[in-house]
């Protein structure tokens, strides 16, 4: 997030794109609710009628996968009605003319037809977003899990840049991170092209710095993204997999294909707190690890705040902390890193990563600090891009519509979209173990519009088969006003009806994020 | 319009606030979003039935009073907040409003009927069981039909939407052009709805709990708009004074009930004695029995002994005896002792406390138990006086402030001994 969670309360206008915030980020949504109570305007872009959408000033219930035409049209309205921040655009952005031309390709009426929303609503949303100073954009997986995920995000940052909605409180462009430490995971260099602290592998000086610090030469060959790793299973260029706390055969799309790959592996090492599906079938070695309540360390939340994780109870049996296991394995591999001490590990990271150098355990004992925080006297950074975008000039991108990887057609006439619900979390290995949560939402369901249900002669709560070109699963119909005609929606949490059996190989053309959000399906009775 | 003629008029709903002061406050309040008038006809004070009587006999005059007040303060919307059991009166009011609509005295939309909120689990009583207004005002009726004994169901009342008030648009748009629009709002069926801010909350579709004051309704009333709230009788006197029919605030309507031969509403001079009211107006005590105790101005004014029957019925004199004129509702008892009557009143308060504030929620109930207990055991650490003081000083609204008066009157006039268990 460019901005902070607490600031949301001061918003005058919020543009929420593809985020069912009240269910996926419930406590952050409380700040939005508070802002709404104070009269803030709410604009929601979502194919589904979510809690927020129902209460929004404008709900753009777009056809899934048409975010870019919509954002282009909004940009177009803002520019053509002269609502953009000319001074900001001139002095602090680049690429305006190209972007403007690309947006001009999407007059409101054309976008309205493509997105299947009301043209008046697009105009209204554009005017509201441009009119308020404290207007922030919030988005999640709904926007990134598409073939055009990166461009989707760019289409949002275009809006922020042309209106100058950046660099002060309660504004900016704010991705809401799905998992607790997605932010930290990226910060730590858990990325094939970035070393810790966003220092590029391609950058020789950065490699030298880390090589010197670690006493080993860092390879200059860029690593593989997860999707490329999985591809590597198939052509057998990947032989061994070390999986820490993940269950790829449940969480990755096109499950059948993933299974084929895993069968070819020579070595799978799994480290987790439960025996997950992947480990059960494929692991050669399984290390019993500890959960967050049993270890010391830090998490970094969506607003870049590094906060202390502390040990409350002992791990069961012989389970060891993840850090201890990695240290033990390093030693076994011939590298004695000494005692596995989280604070020392953090300090090593902070020393090598300038944006984090000012953060240490002592400073975050009471409350977390938001990076960038270059030195120990720095208070941390509540919002980014103050005064000017960090890179000097904000880049505006000319964008065009990219069709989803798979669109509904005569054979598979419905578009399936997936997401999280309030009561469960991802593959629900933890929440489904809570009786109370299982009870509130015990089984998988398929939200379907009343119109589609009538046409297909499907009753509420009826058992149905959801079929895609890759496979089929059984679930239960839930006739709902939340989805529009032609679209069905399923939660992603249930192993017995794993939606990843249905989803395709579509992935973002630039960064390989799988297109969880969309695939073409049909429904029939079992 | 000039309201100098109202200078002497004081509100007749129990609190006795100068009427012209309120009218001027609302007239001078911010008019940006409109103003509202509410005629308080909830009449939930046991022993009081003058509002019902006024609608029975002088309905048009009361409404004229409301109209004139509206004209004076420049209100666009008005409501008669009617005790839900008053179904006959509801019809009279509706007819009178229709007549005035045809005479172009009220906006054409006037006369709609809304339902205010009650306490969940306590729907308003729309069925009055065929009782007269006098019978409906008896303490026994109120104690019996308290929170638990439910009669009728709100939802079945001829299509009245329970939350209609909530959705009602602010009185800006159409109505300003159309003139003063007067509607009926059926009360929530709780004693506390007679308190003006609780009444406003109930009209907004909320739980009828009194608001903290300030701010007062004259600036922040219904939907936050400046709101004039007056009792039915106040509007009636005001109308008579404005029309020149009456000059002075020298008389009042007395509701006389209980053990008298001719219970009813009588207009009599302020300062008349209770004995005169009973004998000269209400036909004397039933069966010429001996009076055990009496109530001067509704249940909240507590009991007085027969020895004080010759004192003047005026605020000033009654204050010397520890009470007030209240709603000028005289209730005569011959069979029940002062303690029995007081116990019932306390029980009534305990069940009608809105439960918002601790002193009243707990205090009323504990004192009701204490009075009802034959041995009058007081089981608490703090003394009875401390508890009474906490209620008097620590409550939010009049119910809590005045409930201790019931005990004080027993102590003062009936030698009721305060006892301590420990």
């Amino acid at each position: 997030m460019t901005n902070s969670i607490a600031e949301i309360e001061q918003s005058e206008c919020m543009l929420v794109v593809g985020s069912n915030t009240t269910e996926a980020h419930p406590v952050l949504a409380l700040r939005m609710k508070k802002a709404m109570r104070g009269g803030a305007k709410l604009l929601v872009v979502d194919p589904r009628k979510t809690w927020l959408a129902e209460r929004a000033d404008v709900h753009l219930q777009i056809k899934p996968g048409t975010d870019i035409p919509l954002m282009n049209a909004i940009a177009n309205v803002i520019i053509s009605e002269d609502l953009h921040n000319k001074q900001y655009v001139e002095s602090l952005t680049e690429g305006f003319d190209e972007m403007k031309l690309a947006a001009a390709e999407w007059p409101v009426e054309r976008a309205a037809a493509t997105c299947e929303v009301d043209a008046g609503d697009i105009r209204k949303a554009a005017r509201l977003y441009a009119a308020y100073k404290h207007a922030g954009i919030y988005y999640t997986l709904g926007i990134t899990e598409h073939v055009c995920g990166v461009d989707n995000v760019r289409s949002l940052s275009n809006l922020a840049l042309i209106t100058g909605h950046l660099g002060y409180e309660a504004t900016g462009v704010n991705p809401l991170r799905g998992q607790n430490n997605v932010q930290g995971c990226n910060d730590m260099g858990n990325n094939p092209v970035y070393l810790p602290g966003y220092q590029e592998v391609a950058d020789g000086a950065a490699r030298e710095k880390f090589s010197a610090a670690w006493g080993q030469q860092v390879s200059e060959i860029p690593g593989r993204r997860l999707d490329q790793m999985l591809d590597g299973l198939h052509d057998e260029s990947i032989k061994a997999f070390f999986v820490m706390g993940e269950d790829p055969i449940v969480s990755e799309p096109n499950v059948e294909h993933v299974h084929v790959g895993f069968k070819k592996l020579e070595l799978l090492i799994s480290q987790d707190i439960f025996l997950n599906e992947t480990a059960k079938i494929y692991a050669d070695v399984v290390f019993p690890a500890t959960c967050f309540a049993e270890k010391e360390g830090t998490f970094t939340n969506s607003e870049r705040r590094v906060q202390r994780v502390r040990k409350a109870v002992d791990a069961p049996g012989e389970a060891r902390t993840d850090l201890q296991i990695i240290f033990d394995l390093a030693k076994e591999l011939g590298h004695d890193w000494g005692k596995a001490q989280p604070s020392k590990v953090w300090d090593e990271f902070a020393r090598l990563s300038p944006n984090f150098s000012g953060i240490n355990y002592a400073r975050i004992e009471e409350s977390g600090i938001q990076w960038p925080c270059p030195d120990v006297s720095h208070p941390g950074t509540k919002f980014l891009h103050e005064g000017a975008p960090i890179r000097g000039k904000g880049r505006l991108y000319p964008l065009d519509h990219i069709k989803p990887w798979e669109e509904a057609d005569d054979d598979y006439p419905l578009t399936l979209s997936t997401g999280r619900t309030l009561y469960h979390y991802n593959a629900a290995t933890q929440t489904l173990r809570n009786e109370g949560h299982r009870e509130k939402q015990p089984k998988s369901f398929v939200e379907i519009s009343a119109e589609d249900a009538r046409e297909l002669n499907i009753a509420d709560k009826e058992e149905i088969v959801v079929q895609s070109r890759r496979g089929s699963i059984v679930s239960w119909a839930k006739v709902s006003e939340k989805v529009r005609k032609g679209v069905i929606w399923m939660p992603m949490h249930y192993a017995e009806a794993s939606v990843n059996i249905l989803t395709g190989d579509g992935k973002d053309l630039k960064v390989g994020t799988p297109e969880y959000k969309l695939c073409a399906v049909r429904l029939h009775k079992p | 319009m000039d309201i100098d003629c109202l200078d002497s008029l004081r509100g007749c709903g129990g609190a006795g606030f100068p009427t012209s002061f309120k009218w001027n406050a609302v007239r001078d309040a911010n008019a940006d979003f409109g103003k509202v008038i509410i005629c308080n006809a909830d009449e939930g004070e046991p022993g009081t039935f003058k509002d019902g009587w006024l609608f029975d006999n002088h309905c048009a005059a009361v409404i004229d009073g409301i109209r004139h007040a509206a004209e004076y303060v420049n209100a666009q919307r008005g409501f008669i907040y009617l005790r839900p059991e008053y179904s006959a009166q509801r019809e009279l009011i509706s007819a009178a409003i229709q007549q005035m609509v045809s005479d172009n005295k009220l906006a054409p939309q006037s006369g709609r009927i809304f339902q205010a909120n009650g306490f969940p689990g306590r729907p308003a009583q729309l069925d009055n069981g065929g009782l007269s207004i006098v019978e409906l005002s008896s303490l026994d009726w109120f104690v019996e039909h308290g929170s638990h004994d439910l009669v009728g169901e709100t939802q079945q009342s001829g299509g009245l939407a329970h939350d209609a008030m909530l959705q009602y648009p602010l009185p800006q748009n159409e109505d300003i052009e159309a003139g003063f629009c007067l509607d009926i709002c059926l009360g929530g069926g709780a004693y506390i709805c007679g308190e003006e801010t609780a009444m406003i909350e109930s009209m907004e579709g909320k739980r009828p709990q009194p608001r903290h004051k300030p701010p007062f309704p004259t600036t922040n009333g219904l939907w936050g708009l400046p709101t004039l709230v007056n009792n039915v009788e106040t509007f009636w006197w005001a109308e008579r004074m404005i029309s020149g029919e009456w000059q002075q605030d020298a008389e009042r309507l007395f509701s006389i009930s209980g053990a008298v031969n001719k219970p009813g509403v009588y207009q009599a001079p302020i300062g008349i004695t209770a004995r005169q009211l009973i004998n000269d107006y209400a036909g004397g005590v039933k069966d010429a029995a001996e009076i055990s105790c009496w109530i001067p101005g509704g249940a909240a004014t507590g009991v007085l002994p027969p020895t004080l029957l010759d004192c003047e019925m005026s605020t000033e004199v009654l204050r010397e005896h520890g009470t007030t004129l209240g709603t000028a509702a005289l209730v005569v008892f011959t069979e029940e002792s002062a303690l029995e009557v007081s116990t019932k009143i306390m029980q009534f308060f305990a069940q009608e406390s809105c439960s918002q504030c601790t002193p009243c929620r707990i205090g009323c109930a504990e004192f009701a138990d204490y009075l009802a207990d034959e041995k009058h055991n007081w089981p608490h650490r703090g003394s009875i006086d401390d508890w009474l003081q906490a209620m008097q000083l620590g409550s939010i609204c009049g119910l809590g402030f005045t409930a201790p008066l019931i005990i004080h009157q027993l102590q003062k006039h009936f030698n009721f001994e305060v006892q301590h268990a420990n």
Partner: protein, 326 residues
Amino acid sequence: MPTNTLTINGEQVAVLQGESLLDACAKMGISLLTACHDNRLEAYGGCRTCLVDLDGAPRPVPACKTLTSAGMVVSTSGEQLETVRATIDEMLECIPAAALETWTDANRFIGYDPQQCIMCDRCVRYCDEIMQCNALEHVGQGVDAFIQPTQGDSFLDTSCELCGGCIGTCPTDALYSKQSLKVFNEQSDAVLSSTRTVCNYCGVGCVIDIESQGNNVIDIDAQTGVGPNDGHLCSKGRFAWQFINHPQRLTKPLVRNTESGELEETSWQNALSIAATKMLDIKQRHGADSLAFLASSRCTNEDVYALQKLARAIIGTNNVHSCAAT
């Protein structure tokens, strides 16, 4: 921001417009007892524990519900005032004679004991103002008043989102966590402790307090004013902790028996040495880039840093990634 100056107990204090007498007292270091007040909610003024004397007011006023204005003269002590407050405290301890049955709601998270309830309405207001769910209501009057799920339905059928915020704000034990009650062992003398840490579910990063008895987690709670969540939690953060003490947790390293194909328990030494040997062997045969490392974005920063360091500095590959790149 405009400020007002007022006098409290003879001393002057400047406050911002919109601040209450309670805020003003806090500024002067005077702490008043409160029960119905939660500064995340609109002031209610119902419990009357925070009464203070205000010059010109006919009776004491609740500090929490009274906005400051310039020139106010306030006193927070005095014999009469203190007696009133002490009496109100005594009243709050009073268990209403007509204590009701608890609701027999089938939900497994939220329990209610009307005997402990002081009708401060914090739960109802929390659900209304913060959650905007309106899943709780205050019903009845007088001492018979109580709290129930809206329309009397079970929480499982209402708009309740099972966030437990009502439990969090309840100043008494009237609303309680059924899960905690179930695992809390009254007999045990194991040490009770509270550990401040961060929720492990979503990216909001709520700061939580894990309450434990010996080695058992018995509750998760959050403190007002702490972390990005200001005491709020969602259903997952507050209640989804049964997995921590779950019997299916892995307790020993496992290796696959090459003959039976089953996973079998083994010693750490054995598991580590098999893993290391095989990794080195594959590296030797197929090169460092044939190994891939996948870390969960649920792990701590330190875990992730160490793993990527192991991949980069020991194995020599940049093949490190995680499942969700968002």
